[in-house]
Assembly symmetry: C2
Homo-oligomer: 161 residues x 2
């Protein structure tokens, strides 16, 4: 079983697979304004969960929910690499979160059994995968406001002249 | 602490808040082809995590990661309400997942202290919130393939004439 509830207030999760990534260390992952995530990697699903991949190859993009397994503790307010000002953790993608879970959208290139070859990994080698979901629709750019990130990018663009 | 690692292979999470939703029972949540999620609700963050909301009000949309706390066990292959054919759990949004975690994109209407008023809830009243992240960008519709879901919708449209 992948789920075990202890008491009423906690939820225990376990990996359904692991990421094969070109990145071994956090500093290798592109970060900051304009960072591109075009790295290819593999989502290796454990054999016991492979049946759950049926028909996933029809989707071009996937949500991957994964664990920040090399992050310690959390910081409610911190300064992200994309800015020089502090913001609340729920307004950033910081790994130092109350629950150390992460979300990445990847492009599915092909499926090879229990191995999903994807583009857009920003995880480290060996990262535990908690869940995969199909990407069904996005919010159009013209409907998005991105708060401090837009402001930081505008300041950075001005500073560059 | 919101994180506690037990051994190497499990991750224990706890709620950072709870959803106030108009839906009391699963059958009340719109499902199936063309379901619209325009219901308004509130994400109530626990007082100890309120500082983590700093600057979140600048974002129009948020990812909410939450727990399917009323789901039991999992099913690797099942038939979703949007189709009459079975698909793998990682190719659906079924609540009966190896790790019972869910992802919803909501529109942030306003913040009132630790209460985020949002549009687009599909959670039940009292659902535990595990994390909130800013929505930064989406995949353009012209780049998306949606596998069995597109096929099921096409069949449904043909059946309607």
């Amino acid at each position: 079983m992948g789920k075990e509830v202890i008491g009423l207030d906690t939820l225990t999760l376990r990996p359904v697979g692991y990421v094969r990534s070109p990145y071994q260390q956090p500093r290798e992952v592109p970060r900051g304004p304009g960072a591109q995530h075009s790295a290819e990697g593999v989502l290796e699903i454990l054999p016991e969960f492979e049946a759950g991949l049926k028909d996933i190859e029809g989707f071009s993009h996937l949500f991957v929910i994964w664990a920040f397994d090399r992050s310690e503790g959390f910081e409610l307010v911190g300064t992200p690499p994309t800015d020089d000002r502090p913001h609340g953790v729920f307004a950033t993608r910081s790994p130092r979160r109350p629950n150390p879970i992460a979300l990445t959208v990847v492009e599915l290139l092909r499926r090879d059994g229990a191995r999903l070859h994807v583009r857009g990994v920003d995880m480290l080698e060996g990262t535990p995968i908690l869940d995969i979901k199909p990407y069904l629709s996005g919010v159009a750019p013209e409907h998005l406001r991105r708060g401090w990130l837009d402001e930081a990018e505008a300041r950075a663009a001005n500073a560059r002249g």
